[in-house]
């Protein structure tokens, strides 16, 4: 399927370019200021657009293509599910990027990329020219990854791994669970967006069930043998939610699952479980625009660590979850960090500004229960092969309550920091 589509695009690049002539042109081609088009307005794309616009001081024309007018951050969406945040507090608009940074914000879907003509086609019919293209589309799900589940089942069995209406739906389902009912999760295989995310979600679901439905159970089918911050989560689950959570890892058949959305059953290694809520988080791949651009290898788009340029096309930079860059986890913090490196590289290429050495950082905070925050993080540098981890740290088991509270408060500060770094 993917190969066919790529072949199709390659074979008809000329035809696509010709077709684009009849579509309305947003920009005149070929002269004036250099043009950057950014596809995807999340932690990678919004940050890159903002930094390029800000630091080029008007020398570069920046267009940001993002289908949604309101962006809900995936980070802190688990806290929303537990009632620690309201939905409005994780919602952001693009008004400041347009008004204060002069970014041309286009709410549309990118449906095609012609790498030879350097144009992007939008679902609305418009065509955008670029000198550099930045792709930060996040993730899509791998078709057929969980037997019995596809995107048409996402209302019965939500993934809630793109925040917004899916988060609202899952929260509503949890709150409507019958007394003593079962919440199930199908966890994804590596690599996937936000490695501690499913387990923070389990913690938040447990928090709300403990309050409203204390005899309810949580069942996790996991194709992995271990997961991010495992010791910290397991300790926390024991401390706060003893006896409520049953985690079935790969050793016990956690990878051998199928679901039936009609009957609300989850079958783990032949064992049929009737469940009340089933949160299916399937295997992931780069947002499909990367496939359409023909820059993926396997499920992800490989990049050069020093600049985040695609290894297939030097005029395209790929950020965040969609990229295959090396050692960094797929996180909002990582995408934001990569965006700044890419922004500097793009400015340098288009306006000759200074190119400094690439540095990357990541920190992921997770909340286990009220004021019980933990974190993991690392610093990275670019090598010719990949983004390579230099140094790291992780919260320790047995930390006292005061430190855990400080860690949680720090995550709240970080949220304010990164969202203003993204959206201005």
């Amino acid at each position: 399927m993917k190969l066919n589509r790529r072949g199709f695009l390659g074979a008809t690049a000329g035809a696509a370019a010709a077709a684009s002539l009849s579509a309305p042109m947003v920009h005149a081609a070929g002269h004036g200021k250099p043009k950057v088009v950014v596809i995807g307005g999340g932690a990678g794309g919004a940050t890159a657009a903002r930094y390029i616009a800000k630091d080029s001081k008007g020398e570069i024309e920046v267009t940001l293509v993002e289908p949604t007018r309101t962006y809900y951050t995936c980070f802190f969406s688990n806290l929303y599910m537990a009632g620690f945040r309201d939905l409005g507090s994780i919602a952001h608009s693009y008004g400041t990027l347009a008004a204060e940074y002069g970014i041309n914000v286009v709410h549309d879907w990118a449906t095609g990329i012609d790498r030879e003509a350097k144009t992007v086609t939008l679902a609305g019919g418009a065509t955008l020219n670029y000198d550099r293209l930045i792709l930060s589309p996040g993730i899509d799900f791998v078709d057929g990854a969980v037997e019995g589940w596809d995107i048409s089942a996402q209302n019965k069995m939500p993934h809630a791994y793109k925040a917004g209406s899916q988060s609202e739906l899952l929260k509503a389902q949890i709150e409507a669970m019958p007394e003593g009912g079962t919440f199930a999760m199908v966890a994804p295989p590596n690599p996937f967006r936000c490695p501690p995310g499913p387990y923070e979600r389990i913690s938040m679901v447990a928090h709300i069930l403990k309050e409203k439905n204390p005899t309810a159970k949580i069942l996790i089918a996991d194709p992995k043998e271990k997961f991010s911050k495992m010791a910290l989560f397991q300790e926390g689950w024991g401390n706060h939610y003893d006896g409520m959570i049953d985690w079935v890892g790969a050793d016990f058949g956690g990878g051998n699952v199928s679901v039936n959305p009609h009957d609300m059953t989850l079958t783990i290694d032949g064992d049929v479980n009737k469940v009340d809520v089933c949160n299916v988080i399937p295997a992931m791949k780069a947002g499909k625009i990367c496939d359409m651009a023909g820059i993926t290898e396997g499920n992800w788009a490989p990049v050069i660590a020093h600049t985040m340029q695609s290894k297939v096309d030097e005029n395209i930079h790929v950020l965040g979850d969609a990229s295959n860059q090396g050692d960094m986890p797929k996180s909002g913090f990582a995408a934001n960090s990569q965006a700044k490196v890419a922004a500097m590289a793009v400015r340098s290429a288009l306006t000759g500004s200074k190119l400094f050495p690439a540095k990357f950082t990541n920190t992921c905070w997770s909340l286990i229960d009220t004021n019980d925050g933990v974190k993991v993080g690392a610093s990275y540098e670019a090598t010719d092969e990949k983004i390579a981890k230099v140094d790291g740290f992780i919260s320790k088991t047995g930390e006292d309550a005061e430190l855990r509270q400080a860690t949680f408060e720090e995550s709240v500060g970080w949220y304010a920091g990164i969202t203003s770094d993204m959206f201005g």
């Binding site: 930094y51 630091d55 913090f333 934001n336 960090s337 700044k340 500097m344 200074k354 400094f356 540095k359 950082t361 920190t363 974190k375 993080g377 690392a378 610093s379 540098e381 230099v390 140094d391 790291g392 740290f393 930390e399 006292d400 005061e402 430190l403 509270q405 400080a406 408060e409 720090e410 995550s411 709240v412 500060g413 970080w414 304010a416 920091g417 990164i418 203003s420 770094d421």
Partner: protein
């Protein structure tokens, strides 16, 4: 409680005396008493000690930073306590040597005591008023020759603010450019020298926060200077 403390102190003094035969292992408490006269304007220690301009110092060894009830600490010291800093010989030694290297906003208006032997005397004196002294070198001092204040040549480096601006994008993911102080301290408009001292204190793993230790560890002296120059100028 009071009784137990006294007994312990007595025991300690005895131990100290026993080993004093081999002389100045970690300072002379009597000489320390005289040095403490400089501190007395703000601090009290011993029976009936109360918080004054500074917190009372009974039980300082092994105590968490910023933890005396009823004393209003600077945000920096309070945060360090939350981050898990316990006062031990080494930490107190560094704090007394250069309070600002420890907590940039400390209210302790003291220039620092450069003389290592005098610091050891002072801490030997204070140590008598702690129940549970921790991490006190029992053999020869381990702190000889380690100068924890920032080398003047490092402080003199002129930073490149343009490079600082690029590097700062790593900081602003957490530290907001508005200067807001919301779980994570604001760092806008800091005097460059305070910034450099603070970053080197993290680099030496002397300030406790793991993220900051990691971030500072890979910054060169020039890069720290560049950041300091940039953040000083941001409004």
């Amino acid at each position: 409680m009071e009784k137990i403390r006294k007994t312990l102190v007595a025991g300690l003094v005895a131990a100290t005396t026993a080993s004093t035969a081999s002389a100045n292992e970690f300072g002379d408490a009597e000489a320390g008493l005289k040095i403490f006269n400089e501190c007395k304007a703000c601090h009290s220690v011993g029976t009936g000690a109360k918080n004054r301009v500074g917190p009372q110092l009974n039980g300082i060894f092994g105590r968490r930073a910023g933890a005396v009830d009823g004393f209003k600490y600077s945000k920096g010291l309070a945060r360090m306590g939350k981050d898990g800093l316990l006062w031990d010989f080494d930490k107190l030694d560094r704090y007394v040597q250069n309070p600002k290297a420890f907590a940039s906003d400390t209210r302790m208006n003291y220039k620092g005591l450069k003389d290592e032997a005098k610091r050891a005397d002072l801490l030997a004196f204070l140590r008598q008023y702690s129940d549970n002294p921790q991490n006190i070198p029992e053999a020869a001092p381990t702190i000889t020759g380690t100068d924890h204040s920032v080398d003047p040549t490092i402080l003199a480096i002129q930073g490149d603010p343009e490079y600082g601006e690029y590097l700062s994008s790593e900081c602003t993911t957490c530290h907001q450019l508005t200067g807001d102080n919301d779980g994570i301290p604001g760092i806008i408009g800091w005097p460059a020298e305070d910034f450099v001292i603070a970053m080197h204190a993290y680099k030496d793993k002397f300030r406790p926060h793991p993220v900051m230790q990691m971030m500072s560890a890979r910054l060169s002296n020039d890069e720290i200077a560049a950041l300091a120059a940039y953040f000083e100028a941001v409004e």
